[in-house]
């Protein structure tokens, strides 16, 4: 992360010869809650990756002999209406949630940032068209847009991810456009242009590096929102299809047994809450760590 000084003039000169990346890392680690968030996220990532080895039972195989058993030493989170172990399904469900969160936000960044940069740097009618489309999409609340898209695409986890990615794209268009406009007014971009750099090079070398900090913050917070969106879509039957485990669809099934088997709805919800909270803590911590104006924390 030791970029040449010319690309990072937004940050003040690093104190005690520290690189901006290192300083951000130091600030982030001092932020104990953010660190806790990162640890929780890491834990869930490991659980998702190692699910086949750490889940005590098969997440899909049904068993009539152990239907809706309350939590016990054998079944930590109890069993569901088909005799499946809730704990194992929560572990496997982390896959759908994290994948939906990370992949859809990565796609939204991949589509949104180039369009935003183009919009901000090109200006004129290109900017007008892109901005109006982003405005139009932002005028439909995120979840309603995602539900409508998923409904027309058809129920499947991939389609839910696509719907979330499209719904999250305009946020990143706006972010990149704003940063591009800000950068365009600075002397160093002016200088880069005066030296005869082609516009794409200016965008990649001189604008993009400055967008990365706010992008990291916004991206982390967007993952939190995307995880909730995936759970919501799966809850409505528009995401991961049963019997494949996902926290949202587990909650949907659990609602019918709220009186007899409350554990079925408690644990998947707690898992969603923990992951979303962890991403939000990380996002808030990153914001404090990467903001060059706040060196007091």
């Amino acid at each position: 992360m030791s970029a040449p000084a010319t690309t990072r003039p937004l940050a003040p000169p690093a104190a005690r010869g520290e690189s901006p990346g290192r300083r951000a890392l130091r600030r982030f680690c001092r932020h104990r809650l953010a660190l806790l968030g990162a640890v929780v996220v890491l834990g869930f990532v490991l659980a998702a990756l190692l699910a086949p080895w750490i889940a005590p039972y098969d997440p899909i195989a049904t068993s009539w002999s152990r239907i809706r058993k309350p939590p016990s030493e054998l079944y930590w989170f109890g069993t569901d209406e088909n005799g499946r172990d809730v704990f194992s399904r929560v572990i496997w469900g982390a896959r759908a949630s994290l994948m939906a969160g990370v992949v859809s936000v990565a796609a939204a960044v991949g589509i949104g940032v180039p369009f935003g940069l183009l919009s901000g740097l090109a200006g004129g009618w290109v900017d007008a068209v892109i901005s109006r489309i982003a405005d139009a999409m932002l005028s439909v609340p995120f979840l309603i847009l995602a539900i409508a898209l998923a409904a027309f695409l058809g129920p499947a986890l991939e389609n839910a991810m696509l719907a979330i990615a499209i719904s999250a794209t305009p946020i990143f268009v706006r972010l990149a456009r704003g940063m591009a406009l800000e950068a365009k007014a600075t002397d160093w971009v002016e200088a880069a242009r005066a030296l005869g750099n082609p516009p794409w090079r200016t965008a990649l070398r001189h604008v993009l590096p400055n967008i990365i900090p706010p992008l990291l913050v916004q991206g982390t917070l967007a993952i939190a929102e995307a995880v909730i969106a995936e759970a919501s879509l799966s809850f409505l039957g528009l995401g991961q299809q049963p019997p494949a485990p996902s926290w949202g669809s587990m909650l949907n099934a659990a609602q019918r047994f709220l009186t007899q088997a409350p554990w079925m709805s408690i644990y998947p919800g707690l898992a969603i809450f923990a992951v979303v909270l962890a991403f939000n803590l990380m996002g808030d911590g990153l914001r404090d760590a990467l903001d060059p104006r706040s060196d007091r924390r």
Binding site: P141, L143, I144, A148, F152, L153, F235, V276
Partner: protein
Amino acid sequence: MGLWLIRRLGQVVPTLLILSVLIFGLQQLMPGDPALILAGEERGDPQVLAEIRAELLLDRPLWEQYLAWLGRVLMGDFGFSWRIRLPVAQLILDKLPVTLQLGLMAFVIAVAIGVPAGIVSAVWKDRPADWVANGLALAGISTPNFWMGIMMILLFSVHLGWLPPSGYVPLAEDPLQSLATTIMPAFVLGGSIAGVLMRHTRAAMLTALAQDYVRTARAKGLPERLVIAKHALRNALIPVVTLGTIELGRLLAGAVLTEQIFTIPGFGKLIVDAVFNRDYPVVQGVVMATALIFVLLSLLADLLYMAINPRLRAA
């Protein structure tokens, strides 16, 4: 002011037009032939299929379909529900009062929690009260709406038996029972934006408390209570009012799952049922109506901002 309003409206119109193209375009994502869905039992009969296609203009070029659709939407005609054979506009208008009641109750709850919490946390910044308020706000933002609803049903309906777990009684029919059926969903909805409102209020209060006029007020010996209430708060509320208006629009999105959990026959349940029944005109109509409400709310937010900010009124 007049010129500003015209320019602002000039932004709204192209936004809504582009949105109409996008919403119309949703149809093109659909797998399968809508005529086949509509024909139902008679899907084998080419005669019936041809008639349906002609009626829905499915046999015409896309741009012609769009213009015909847009023309009808502009007249307030969102087409017919495929499922219930009622005009979509009528369905939406029927459900809107229910969601409006829920939304307003939620908003009152959100303001009653979020604004005082924001003030407390700004005034006692970096002290226990601030940590508690911040922690609660973060927890509220991180809890999925629908899970919160399920947990409240578990506590208040299943365990304590205080409130009905689902259903809805109109306000005009039995006000008390109506409140009993809507208080939990309103709390779920309101709680979700109380956290956001708290953060806005806190930030605005911190900015206001750092201003020169607050220092002047303190220097001339005003009691701290008056400094906070009369000098800082009144200025801090300006951005909070406008941001709060926009949050009202987000309540509509929250209502989707909340109404589903509590089986409340409102706007949100309408779109979910439409999704389940593959009733696409209703889905399109609800999305368009939501966007319209959202655009009008942000316009209202701008107007409010002008109205309550004396610095902008002169310009």
